[in-house]
Symmetry: C2
Subunit: 702 residues, 2 copies
């Protein structure tokens, strides 16, 4: 099977040089009138209305049909009743039009009939190559190209100020809402694209298109269903390469929301945990609220980067300074005390008597704020301080010299700056100074910027993963030996794990009591023995395991007792052999495995194992391929970091060994699509070593 | 020692019928001019300026000194240089003035000299009985009494709209800042009090005063240092009795902030974990950000209560509906699907064709919002639905019929309502409709309201705790037997625990190997033996313990080996005896103890025990006295609830047994001030029983 050719690019659709609109209206209160009015606002090229009766629409000559258009425009906006849409799009494709923006509702969101209509629309797009945005969207805005193909605002409202921020939203209504808020927050939106029902073009494809555009510096997105996860991951890698931040707000995380999302977009919602893990791994910021999405846009839009995590806090209120310092600490930033000589220099500029602090937070008191010259000097010294990488300043002054001084400070420094302000933010927003209304939001934003500035190497390219063909062939032989069985024997599972450099307990598969005794002698020390049978997945329930047997007699007695018990309790279970196995010591038990997510595919999970695995169900996840450093970082997040930093936690050696096991399982998952699930539990950790003591591998035969 | 008489009440200070101001100025740009101008704005009684030279200040006859005042006013505002403040306050007290609001800075925040000044101010207040707010504060506002004794705004700015919300802030600057934001957020502030350095009156005392005032319905507070924790707890109980919500924002949680707070208020910062635990126990809401403090004020200020946790979400954007449903789920609220007949009734009001949803979220689509009659009908049906306890509605419409319909719906229902809105919130705020700018903030606020509405009984009154005098006497005899030792023997500790109904392992303290063998026989089953010595707090390090000894020979051998090893490894340790102890089985190990917090005093802690205690340092805390239900609730929060709900977690029986141990330790902590620390580790949990297997009690001798 060869892959289908990639669909045509989105340039004609999203950066058209000429536009038509089918369903353009002379009535300004109708959607067809609003959108057409918007199209006329800023577009430098031709905009042709198509109307069945009117000769002229909003001053432009109208054409009877798409076929009558004087040119094959790049993009057509379509706002005709749902039942007519598919034919119009087909007509557009036949006329040589490159893209269609379908505003009309009444498709998959409206029940089975609409679903069928949408499927036909998808088919037309795929067959003809015309790229389609929508249906059931509010269109898009490309201020750089002057395209206002939307009804997110009416033609009498001012256009938002353009800039480096692109916002891509599946939901049109929400996109409009958030665009409104974005403008209030001082965000400079150059692009807004709503993808609606995504009959053809989806959020991931639009992000892939926009990440390459030079005028786009920050990508924000609101998604309910992430289609094309491979394109999403590739886009995230590309954003990392180009050092452009990508921020996602994901809806549909709770059960309540999953039902709401399914009823409104008729689409499947993936696992929020997997989504978060993949985003983290690929350097994508996951906003947890709408305001956080905007806050990150605000801190990222001026393109500044931080050299480190040290913030100097400027305040004229001690209390606000404490809150900012608090939030800095909680956000993982440092607020270092300034060195004595810097403090002395700051104090020299303060009015006397000075009751504030020069330590950091630098508390000028309200008195200094009221003295513009002194305040300006202090501000500029703080911004120039070699002890800080970022500046956070709180002001509740109204327009005047103090705020002018803050704007001046911002312009004179290349360091990131965050202002905490309530009532009078407009001046700062106009000047492009990132401005926040809550101490936590200010510091969380600076913290995100510090993480962006310090982000590590671009994650490995999934496309570049090379399977080890010889190994794959050998594993498939082992799987084939299981016949129709889907759960492999523990002994087979561990043989497979060993091929992926997963250290397993020393063990031998034997038949007969004498062979067991000899194997135990070769293995040395106390041993466990386990009955291998496809019918006994839960060995301890059937008495199919004996632990801690030391010496030939104990092995012999245990072997016989065990087989007797199994014969009694599970008479139908055919015994394939007995596994004689080293007893591995354990200070800690971990569990590690492979699961397959319906959206993102293979995921390697690692968590605490043993008895507590059910009490403490926490785990961290990684999408293969990943390198050992990524695995080490993931382990560092288990149990809030305590698995690595705790006194009885993993040593450096054990950490590296666990990371190697994780990369091995990642390779296994990528090489063998037929492996549905791997569960290594427990991984026994002691004295620098990590050993797989049990392993369950489930395969699909299809 | 008898307790000192309580200081005079705050009525004259905070609700004066006449006012004087020392340091009143004719210059509107000076603080003394701003405050005096504010005092003249709304106060119905006399306001007398005191000025050394000017005959008239801002139109009022001035007096040379406090002694020259024509009457003993209730309250004097003082804004004179720091060095003059103490004498002026003393003069006020001599003149019969009831309270002083000291605006002046330059006290404890300004170094040792200022600290000394402040101590003198405190002494004057305590000696004369005059109540003092400040110094280093921006004063207070009592709109109900017309008192604007502050410079948080200037006389030309409009007064905030009055209402049931009281805000008490240690930090004046922050208070001013947050007051500004509160007004923007539509919060109706009837009271704002800044307490500054708290030379006399502190936040807890002001809250205790305000909670009793009938016009106050909601108490908000920003604190850095909580002085008078007993008054705070009593106020919290009183707020629960009166069903008035109390919300605190606490600064100084991180190390960074602790340093900042100490440098700016020169005061000790307590443990954030203990603070949170006490607040939870006493029904106090802890806001984690400034905006959350305001959000809770917003949802609480109309005094509505929710009958349950079911929210109906109204939206005209599917995406916004999903986000709101998501946040509802994450905040612990439910978004139940509406029954078929309710859905049919809603659908009957929607315009055709209808592409939205009536399921909940009720997605009207933008089309319905544009049809005011239909929208109004749907809104009112949703508000009247028996399937919902609360309504959340999103709108991004500008002023017009749709928003009018929302206000009308709010007025027609007694249910709590939260509106999500961006640009056009003023209309809602004017009408008193709680309005939010982020889905999470809207739902977190409704969730807090649901918790407030469902809060349980008022916690027990610490004053009402009655010690068991006989038990105290018996415990003190045991402690006395330890002489000068501060760490009691395990055997003594467990005898004490048993008096507080803590089940301990069966055990006997013996001397001599034969006695040990006999004791082991009486105890039955395998036993542990442990050397009791004041010099061996860490028994296993010195070989002073043997586990799992079964039968006389094992006990005999173990006893001898153990004592030999101790003699060899710790030759100086005097052996007080050997404890022969039942080996208690364990499916789970817990740890439980008593600590003393410098602010809140005794705290009972419970957490996971055994090997993982260092990896998983999480614990929950309770301030005694508390009842068994409170202990059960606290255990339910351990490990994110999994300790109770997990398959291997605590059974109902084990849960009750653990709760009983906690209440026992609570009584011990309250009865015995000399017990500095109790550490019961492990508590062994198995088969419905919970047994203390080891116990460490540390006492103070003073």
């Amino acid at each position: 099977m060869t892959a289908p050719p990639p669909p045509p690019a989105l340039d004609r659709l999203l950066s058209p040089r000429s536009i038509a609109m089918v369903g353009a209206s002379n009535s300004p209160t109708r959607i067809g009138g609003t959108v057409f009015g918007n199209l006329l606002r800023a577009f430098p090229g031709e905009v042709h209305p198509v109307h069945p009766k009117d000769e002229v629409v909003q001053g432009r000559t109208a054409y009877r049909s798409v076929s009558d258009l004087p040119e094959a425009v790049d993009m057509a906006v379509i706002a005709v009743p749902a039942r007519a849409v598919v034919d119009v799009v087909a007509e557009c494709a036949a006329r040589g039009i490159g893209g269609a923006t379908v505003i009309t509702s009444g498709f998959a969101e409206a029940g089975p009939e609409g679903r069928a209509l949408q499927d036909r629309l998808t088919a037309v797009a795929h067959e003809t190559g015309i790229r389609v945005i929508g249906p059931n969207c509010i269109g898009y805005m490309n201020t750089h190209g002057g395209v206002m193909a939307n009804f997110m605002i009416t033609p009498d409202q001012p256009l938002p100020e353009s800039g480096p921020v692109a916002l891509v939203s599946q939901s049109g209504g929400f996109g409009s809402y958030i665009t409104n808020k974005a403008v209030l927050a001082g965000l400079r939106l150059g692009w807004f694209v709503s993808t609606g029902n995504e009959a053809d073009v989806n959020v991931a494809q639009v992000l892939r298109h926009l990440v390459e555009r030079p005028e786009v510096g920050v990508l924000l997105s609101f998604v309910e269903t992430l289609r094309d996860p491979e394109i999403f991951m590739a886009t995230a890698r590309r954003a990392a390469e180009l050092d452009k931040p990508l921020v996602l707000l994901k809806a549909g995380r709770s059960d309540e929301a999953a039902r709401a999302a399914m009823s409104h977009t008729a689409s499947i919602v993936g696992s929020a945990q997997v989504f978060d893990a993949v985003c983290r791994q690929y350097g994508v910021f996951v906003a947890s609220t709408m305001e956080e999405l905007l806050d990150l846009g605000t801190i990222f839009q001026d393109g500044r980067r931080a050299a480190g995590d040290r913030v100097i806090v400027m305040t004229s209120s001690g209390g606000a300074g404490v809150l900012l310092a608090d939030e800095a600490g909680q956000a993982g930033l440092s607020v270092p005390e300034l060195p004595a000589e810097e403090q002395a220099a700051l104090e020299a500029d303060m009015p006397l008597p000075f009751y504030g602090s020069t330590s950091n937070p630098v508390d000028t008191t309200a008195q200094t704020t009221a003295m513009p010259d002194a305040y300006r000097k202090v501000l500029n010294k703080v911004a120039a301080s070699p002890s800080g990488d970022m500046v956070a300043a709180v002001t509740w002054a109204g327009p005047g010299p103090a705020n002018d001084a803050i704007v001046e400070m911002y312009r004179n420094t290349a360091k990131p700056v965050a202002i905490l302000s309530t009532a009078w933010s407009e001046q700062f927003q106009r000047a492009g100074v990132p401005t926040f209304t809550d101490p936590r939001r200010a510091m969380a934003s600076l913290s995100a910027l510090a993480r962006l500035s310090a982000r590590g190497p671009v994650p490995p390219d999934p496309e570049a993963f090379a399977a080890d063909g010889d190994r794959v062939r050998r594993v498939r032989e082992l799987i084939a030996a299981a016949g129709e069985e889907t759960t492999l024997l523990e002994s087979t599972g561990k043989s497979i794990l060993a091929m992926y450099d997963v250290p397993v307990t020393r063990e031998e598969l034997v038949t007969g009591v004498d062979a067991a005794v000899e194997a135990a002698a070769r293995i040395g020390g106390p041993v466990a023995i386990k009955v291998m049978s496809y019918r006994l997945p839960h060995k301890s329930d059937a008495g199919a395991i004996r632990l801690g047997l030391r010496g030939p007699d104990a092995v012999r007695d245990g072997y016989r007792e065990m087989l007797d018990e199994v014969a009694r309790r599970a008479p139908d279970a055919r015994v394939e052999g007995v596994l004689v196995q080293q007893m591995a010591p354990a200070r800690l038990e971990l569990t590690c495995g492979v699961q397959r997510d319906p959206v993102f595919g293979p995921m390697v999970a690692v968590g605490l194992g043993g008895v507590l695995v059910e009490v403490l169900s926490e785990a961290v996840l990684l999408r293969p391929p990943f390198d050992a450093d990524a695995a080490v970082a993931a382990l560092g997040r288990l149990l809030g970091g305590r698995l690595v930093t705790g006194r009885r936690g993993l040593s450096e050696e054990e950490l590296r060994a666990t990371a190697q096991i994780m990369t091995g399982l990642g390779a296994l998952a990528l090489e063998l699509d037929e492996v549905a699930e791997v569960d290594v539990n427990p991984l026994r950790v002691a004295d620098g070593a990590v050993l797989a003591a049990d392993a369950l591998i489930v395969v699909r035969h299809d």
